[in-house]
């Protein structure tokens, strides 16, 4: 292994560690999207009525739409602080390729915002009367789908991070891009609750994840370099 590669890996790990350390010191920020997720899911039965059969049918959709909104609500944090306190310059001026550092940022963001949703979702699924067989698929679809959301979202964050109030615009930019994930993730859960095989859906979700992890770091890196000009 060349010195260069070892250096790159070291930077990657250091950035990941730093972001996880920061998240652990602001633990309430990790809990907030979880509360958002729970509350959004809770509002649906209050809106459509307590009919258990109806809830069972729409449970997958509710959970996934709520998960999308919950992750979008914290997406902006991925680079906002780094942009404002100047830490982004260290990323941009690092000898390590920027796309690699973007992957570290996305990974840290997913571990602190996406992964917690995966753990709480089964419980909420049962509250919505989701059939027992569909729960593992719900967990799997979230496990494969939420990282894609972080990666695709990184491009939107990169483009809007230089703007004072980019929050709503960011949501407008990224939500249309989440449509495929939503369709196949809910498709997987619904197929499972009807007793059908859901491997196909999961494989498509997985291929979307592979596509997202290989392409979006480059797009997000270019977006960050463009945004850095605004400073």
């Amino acid at each position: 292994m060349s010195v260069k590669t070892a250096q790159s890996i070291e930077s990657f790990v250091a950035l990941l560690k730093r972001d996880l350390l920061l998240a652990s010191r602001h633990f309430s920020e990790v809990v907030q999207p979880l509360l958002f997720f729970t509350m959004a899911v809770m509002l649906f039965p209050l809106g459509v009525g307590p009919d258990a059969e109806l809830l069972r049918i729409i449970a997958a959709g509710i959970l996934w739409v709520a998960a999308l909104f919950a992750s979008s609500s914290v997406l902006d944090k991925m680079f906002r602080e780094d942009f404002e306190d100047g830490a982004l310059e260290y990323l941009l001026l690092s000898p390590t390729p920027l796309p690699l550092l973007v992957i570290a940022k996305c990974l840290a963001h997913w571990l602190t915002t996406g992964l917690p949703l995966v753990f709480i979702a089964p419980l909420l699924g049962l509250l919505l009367n989701l059939s027992f067989e569909a729960v593992p698929l719900l967990v799997l679809s979230l496990l494969v789908g939420t990282p894609t959301i972080s990666f695709v979202g990184a491009v939107g964050v990169g483009l809007t991070v230089g703007l004072r109030r980019g929050g709503v615009l960011l949501t407008l930019l990224v939500l249309p891009l989440y449509v495929p994930v939503l369709i196949f993730a809910t498709g997987a859960v619904q197929a499972a609750s009807q007793g059908a095989h859901a491997y196909g859906h999961l494989l498509i979700l997985l291929s979307m994840l592979v596509l997202a992890t290989t392409l979006t770091p480059f797009a997000a890196a270019s977006a960050l370099r463009i945004s850095a000009e605004m400073n």
Binding site: K17, H26, E89, L93, P95, E229
Partner: protein, 206 residues
């Protein structure tokens, strides 16, 4: 081309918000030389410094490092570059040591905690090693960022207003460090509107 000059700026145009800040700027830097950038507020000092560091694209003209345009060898150039901008990048909820550790790691370098501790001692932050940056004053936070001058190996330093918010003793400390870097054939480009207290090899007034 002068044989010694390893950093060159050729016919550079710098525009910002549709306004031409600098037109046709050319200068060379040799190892061991200090270049001072001066100019009034709004004359484009920071924009120029950020362009020289590679944070803004060069549209007209060329900036070369060791004979190769910096945009063609970004990673090599950034390996050799230490840039200190306006905002220091300090994370308020990390300690001084933790901050310096991630900064060094992103530059592809590392130092032991003991070394970082002794440098913090040197810049007047002895006893604050494990304090969160949140508890430090603005001047102290700046000193944390300046500690990179001692910790990081780099051939070219681009320092944008390094003396902002530090006191007289801090200014002297930085000045001595800059002199030391120059004596090791390092290269410094520095912008300031304070008095410099040392002789620059060239002054570029914007």
């Amino acid at each position: 081309m002068e044989l010694n000059s390893i950093f060159q700026c050729q016919k550079l145009n710098v525009e910002r918000d549709d306004r031409i800040l600098l037109d046709n700027l050319s200068f060379d830097c040799t190892p061991g030389s200090l270049t001072q950038i001066t100019g009034a507020n709004g004359s484009g000092k920071t924009t120029l410094m950020r362009t020289l560091a590679g944070l803004r694209p060069v549209t007209v003209g060329k900036i070369t490092w060791q004979g190769i345009p910096i945009k063609e060898q970004r990673e090599v150039y950034h390996q050799d570059l230490l840039f200190l901008g306006h905002s220091s990048g300090i994370k308020l909820s990390l300690t001084c040591i933790e901050n310096l550790q991630w900064m060094l790691a992103l530059c592809g370098q590392s130092q032991t905690k003991a070394t970082i501790g002794s440098v913090l001692q040197l810049v007047g932050l002895g006893g604050f090693e494990s304090n969160l940056a949140r508890t430090l004053s603005a001047g102290q936070r700046r000193r944390v960022a300046l500690a990179m001058l001692w910790l990081r190996q780099a051939k070219i330093w681009i320092l944008d207003e390094p003396y902002t918010s530090i006191d007289v003793s801090g200014v002297d400390l930085v000045k001595d460090k800059v002199m030391e870097h120059l004596s090791h054939r390092g290269l410094v480009i520095l912008s300031t509107h304070h008095g410099l207290n040392m002789t620059a090899d060239q002054v570029i007034n914007l």
